[in-house]
């Protein structure tokens, strides 16, 4: 197996060209076949294309078909046109879930971006124990979301909430806050947990972007009399914008299609007031078994995802062109 090609590929290469090589004089059929870039590319891409088309393209087409049919569990449906979409749109729980999804995505992304940027700027400074602080900051992102959300749920517990205890001891409240037993509070609790979980991703990727900025630029700006805020706004931000755009796109997609956090934290309740599109699609499609209607609800995510992906592709093209 181990032939010394890697070692011999240095300066002696020029000499060895003229020598006849056993492999090149009598090429086998397969090797010759693989010398063609097209054939090799087809072979290398085959497993990926096979898996992605079986488990993404095919389900996607099937999802579109399901959404246009009256299929439910154990019952092969028939074509019903856009009835499922119309039914969802006229459903008040769906409307709430639809609105919630935008609300949740908007505020969670704003918080993740500002706090993440702040944290990245803090971590970009030199201080003792920086490595361990940076490593521990990523913990919320790597620990399974479901498990950490349980810790939050326990912290928001109606009877034993430690947060209520803290606020009460600090004399900020006199009665308990209804963290998860009220729709509005529930939504904001979810936004807080999502921010807590997703902020490290922003901070670490933005930090990587910050580290590529030449410190001389800051020095020059401060010699010209720019204060901290001006240096951030006129030097750091323009250079950081490409990374920020990509990170925001990823985060928007993740947040918009979020499922597990709401599933564990509120389960969509109280009274279906905190559903997102994904959790409501699950409730209708899997828990109730109305596959057609559930598929239609999750396809409502598609236009937004489509716009975001399209913007992202356009942006990438422009970056490559520049």
């Amino acid at each position: 197996m181990k032939r010394p090609i890697a070692g011999g590929a240095g300066s002696a290469a020029g000499l060895e060209v003229v020598l006849p090589h056993p492999r090149t004089t009598r090429p086998q059929r397969l090797t010759r076949f693989l010398e063609s870039e097209r054939a090799l590319a087809a072979l290398l891409l085959a497993p990926t294309v096979l898996i992605l088309s079986t488990f993404i393209a095919y389900p996607f087409i099937m999802g579109v078909w399901l959404s246009l049919s009256s299929t439910s569990v154990g019952n092969v449906g028939e074509f019903v046109g856009f009835k499922n979409f119309a039914k969802a749109w006229n459903d008040s729980i769906f409307r709430t879930a639809f609105g919630n999804t935008f609300y949740y995505t908007f505020w969670a992304t704003i918080f993740k971006l500002t706090l993440g940027m702040w944290l990245a700027l803090l971590l970009n400074r030199r201080f003792r124990g920086k490595r361990i602080v940076r490593a521990s900051m990523l913990l919320p992102f790597i620990v399974p979301t479901v498990l950490s959300t349980f810790a939050w749920r326990w912290m928001f517990d109606p009877t034993f909430s430690v947060l209520n205890w803290l606020l009460y001891r600090a004399d900020l409240i006199t009665t308990k806050l209804p963290f998860l037993s009220d729709g509005v509070y529930g939504m904001w609790c979810a936004i807080v947990v999502n921010t807590w979980r997703g902020m490290p991703f922003f901070a670490i990727t933005l930090l990587a972007g910050l580290q590529t900025i030449n410190p001389d630029l800051h020095e020059a700006a401060s010699l010209d009399g720019a204060n901290g805020w001006q240096r951030f706004w006129h030097v750091t931000w323009p250079l950081l914008k490409p990374v920020t755009v990509v990170v925001v796109v990823f985060s928007v997609i993740q947040t918009f299609s979020d499922f597990q956090l709401i599933y564990v934290l509120t389960g969509g309740g109280p009274a279906n007031s905190t559903h997102l599109l994904a959790t409501y699609a699950y409730q209708v499609g899997v828990a109730t078994g109305l596959l057609g209607e559930g598929a239609a609800i999750s396809l409502f995510m598609l236009p937004v995802l489509f716009v975001v992906v399209w913007l992202q592709l356009r942006y990438l093209r422009r970056m490559e062109g520049a």
Partner: protein, 283 residues
């Protein structure tokens, strides 16, 4: 670089950073303290005078023992591990080959294939779970680990391909050309020259993919039904809550033990993980 007064460093740096650290780590501390607190202390009114919420005077391992002895938690750990390793291996294999093809080879439709892999990278699992459940049923994969081992690559392969493609592009072409002049085949040069150089990239992609599949929830929730087949996140959600009663001590013990393996892997390979994370969003 810039000299600043001491108070400024406190106000603008130490205090905000401390708030960030405490805010980030507090839920984990809370997990730990709940897991080792005896039940009698756990369910005590929040206004009780003797309440000491931030520590416990009688730490106990009772919840951990119950978790290990009375539930199938060890089995869930093993399932999660097996599924994560298998799906990571499949994804790395596919990602390596596809990433190389996209980075190095010229072939018709290269642009289209690259773009479609990128687009699948952005497709969230929650968009497709209902039809996918149907397909899993059709293939008779329901309630087997293979349902997850084969579907996790749908979000892992695009990521691995993307990351490794970026990595391959940073390796100079001359290395390969030299090997080919020495008589290596195209395939041989890829296997013996390029892949060994790409080991750090492969490690980054692997670690990242492993944590992603360890954390996956919705597919595991839908495709698995027998208690002994479940993964840790699903098992904790569905089996540790009986009826409407939450056994918080056990739940937090489970959450802690379910997080430790992935946290360990992460702590050994922080740098690779960070490289994977930042590489995952780079074009």
């Amino acid at each position: 670089m810039l000299i600043e007064p001491k108070w400024k460093r406190w106000v603008y740096f130490y205090i905000p950073l401390t708030v960030f650290v405490v805010g980030t780590l507090f839920p984990f501390y809370w997990m730990l303290i709940t897991a080792i607190r005896p039940d009698a202390e756990l369910y005590r009114s929040w206004r009780a005078a003797s309440n000491t919420p931030f520590w416990t005077l009688q730490p106990t391992l009772e919840h951990f023992q119950d978790l290990m002895a009375k539930t199938t938690f060890p089995q869930w750990l093993w399932n999660t591990f097996f599924i994560a390793v298998a799906s990571t291996a499949i994804s790395l294999f596919c990602g390596l080959l596809a990433g190389y093809a996209l980075a190095r080879l010229r072939f018709p439709m290269a642009g289209t294939v690259g773009t479609s892999i990128f687009v699948t990278y952005l497709v969230p699992p929650t968009l497709l779970f209902i039809p996918l459940a149907n397909i899993i049923r059709t293939f008779r994969l329901g309630d087997t680990p293979w349902a997850l081992i084969l579907t996790y690559p749908t979000f892992l392969i695009p990521f691995c391909t993307w990351l490794l493609m970026g990595y391959f592009k940073t390796i100079p072409k001359e290395l390969e050309e030299c090997a080919r002049i020495d008589g290596a085949t195209r395939f041989g040069a890829m296997l013996r020259i390029i892949f060994p150089i790409a080991v750090p990239g492969i490690l980054s992609a692997g670690i990242f993919a492993f944590t992603l599949s360890w954390n996956e929830f919705i597919y595991a929730l839908i495709f698995l039904s027998s208690p002994e087949r479940k993964t840790v996140p699903v098992g904790v959600v569905s089996e540790l809550i009986r009826g409407d009663i939450y056994f918080w001590g056990q739940l937090m013990a489970g959450a802690l033990l379910g997080s430790i393996p992935v946290a360990l892997v992460y702590s050994f390979f922080v740098e690779y993980y960070v490289a994977g994370l930042t590489g995952s969003v780079k074009g």
